[in-house]
Amino acid sequence: MTDLSQAVRDAARRLLSDGLVDVVIGFEAGTLPLRSSPCFVRHAGEVERLVWNMSCENNLAKYLPRCSERVGVIAKGCDTRSIVGLLGEGRIERERVHIVGVPCQGMLDRRRIEGELAGREALDMQEGKGEVILHGDGFEIALEKERYLHASCRACRFRNPVIYDTLIGDPVAEGVAADEYAAVREFEAMPRGERWRFFEAQASKCIRCYACRNACPLCYCTECFAASTEPRWLNPSTDATDALVFQIMRVMHTAGRCVDCGACERACPVGLDLRLLTKKVEKDVEELFHYKAGLDVHERMPLSTFSPDDPGDFIR
């Protein structure tokens, strides 16, 4: 993956020096070994800052709605599906965005890797062919890349950008996860009381920081329902009920729009299993309405339309 850094820089340089865009949004090296960080490049001379590696975990589509300039954005498969969603919802104008698509083989789950370190601090990370090598004070660990991908990457079926103006590198083989909803099905099979206790425990850990919401490209409301005081739907408190209601409604608001990029789960500082909720709604949308988000700009979001044959057995 690292050789794509140069291709990304070349693409950005071309876009900026040809005056096609005012800014390129990509990734630069982070200040910590397992991180990279979104960066905004405005001059061709600055493109050397750009990198592409397995820590480019953020969904850069997030920045597109608020940009009034002409933007070039480095987007992996899931990010391009978010862009399709934003285009379909009229949040960005196609002519204003130049999509630099990058086929992606997955991003590393830094929290699981940190778990392996068991309290030791990684000071350096190198990407090998099939492994990542971490160095710290008095230790070196090699971890198999495949085993430490984000759960959303392991379930991913759209590694190749679904929309782009420029494609970096060669297309990659599509992911063939046996069942992307396996975790959801396993959870559905649990007894009801156990499911409730799980979510109650999760909600008790939530600190209402809204990192999940703010990392999501589809959460672009200028005033979120959670902040509304007239009416006040819920308090910004850490009472389990308030926290759970926030999660429930966020997932309902992104229903049929979420592409499972995983940005929410990656952003959460307390490690909540947010995808157990988002993936459930994604599964129901697929089963009930035969719809997958982020593939066709012209298709209407499932909750803004209907079919006369929609399931209705649950209605008396």
Binding site: T31, R35, F40, I207, A211, A227, N235, A263, A267
Partner: protein
């Protein structure tokens, strides 16, 4: 002040003894997350950790707190103010950065003419047992902001891990009382004192070269309108991770809920990173975009606090650095400001 040594494998005996006479709060592992909780057995305590994800200030300043409840019984209005437990408490295993944060929060909630009763009721009766940092992390920068890996600010007792033993030293009179009460310890000898001093020097040496917040107040005073602010905030997604994980952040909102019959007034954390934080009733918002909000965050911690209190309002724990979803690193920002303003000199 007195110092004693305790063999490391005897720590549970010490904790057990503390549990006899006090409520003990210590770091525990809650499903992978290190947090400070009340413990009822030494086995729950985790000491081989770097720092908790959530800061211990939550014990004095909970994220959600009931200020009072009311209930109407017929024509009688009953008002009830929750009374936190008032027994003797020990906060065990706090890192020096977090212990120092208590002194900063005390200025806000327990200093001056107006004290916060909720905070005071929780804060009193605590003996703080700090745990020095013999191996600071690359993300730590306590020394740059007026603290240090062996700082005693905010601690009554300081514990240092010397490998085979814990070096336990009293810092305050309250701490001396606790140290006196410990059994199974032996007097700290010259060798252990030397090793403790060396450990401090070694730890401090690793932090040299971490960011320089020196003279940050003056630099920030000069650059209110600098175009740097337009760039700095761009990657910020405006969540509250930095503020809610910060040991010194202290902003809150007051929310009333209930009906005519019963209800309560709540104190709930709020974040200056949220857009509605400074929204006026008129509709005007003096911090309308991320730029103003990010500038405010930096100004508050590194300029206004210094102007008002003579010390930086950040303890250098590094939680915001480690947990920011976009790796917006405050150290990098401070370095950039320093290099920018140096040119002006």
């Amino acid at each position: 002040m007195r110092a004693v040594l305790l063999a490391k494998n005897q720590i549970s005996v010490l904790l057990e003894a503390l549990l006899q006479g006090h409520e003990v709060f210590a770091p525990v592992n809650d499903g992978g997350l290190i947090v400070f909780r009340q413990v009822d057995s030494p086995q729950q305590v985790v000491l081989g950790y770097h720092n908790s994800t959530l800061p211990p200030k939550r014990l004095f300043f909970p994220q959600t707190e009931t200020v009072f409840c009311y209930g109407l019984e017929g024509a009688q209005l009953a008002l009830e103010e929750p009374q936190p437990a008032s027994g003797e408490k020990v906060l065990f295993g706090v890192r020096p950065c977090d212990a120092r944060s208590f002194t900063l929060l005390d200025r806000v909630f327990a200093g001056g003419n107006h004290c916060d009763g909720c905070y005071l009721a929780r804060r009193e009766n605590y003996t703080v047992v700090g745990l020095s940092c013999t191996r600071p992390r690359a993300t730590c920068f306590c020394s740059a902001v007026g603290g240090g890996p062996f700082s005693t600010a905010g601690s009554d007792v300081l514990v240092t891990d010397l490998g085979t033993d814990y070096f336990i030293e009293a810092v305050t009179d309250k701490g001396a009382v606790l140290v006196e009460s410990l059994s199974g310890c032996r007097e700290a000898d010259e060798d252990s004192i030397r090793r403790r001093t060396e450990a401090q020097a070694a730890a401090e040496a690793t932090l040299r070269g971490a960011i320089s917040a020196e003279d940050m107040k003056r630099r920030l005073q000069e650059m209110w309108d600098d175009p740097l602010w337009d760039r700095l905030h761009e990657k910020c997604i405006g969540c509250g991770v930095c503020t809610y994980l910060c040991p010194t952040c202290h902003c809150f909102d007051i929310v009333d809920e209930g009906s005519e019959q019963r209800g309560r007034r709540l104190k709930i954390w709020d974040s200056c990173m949220f857009p509605l934080f400074t929204l006026h009733a008129s509709g005007h918002n003096p911090r309308p975009t991320g730029k103003e909000r990010w500038r405010q965050r930096l100004m508050h911690k590194f300029r206004y606090w210094t102007e008002s209190h003579g010390e930086v309002g950040c303890v250098g724990c590094g939680r915001c650095v480690v947990n920011c979803p976009v790796n917006l690193d405050i150290r990098q920002v401070l370095n950039e400001i320093e290099s920018l303003t140096k040119k002006v000199e």
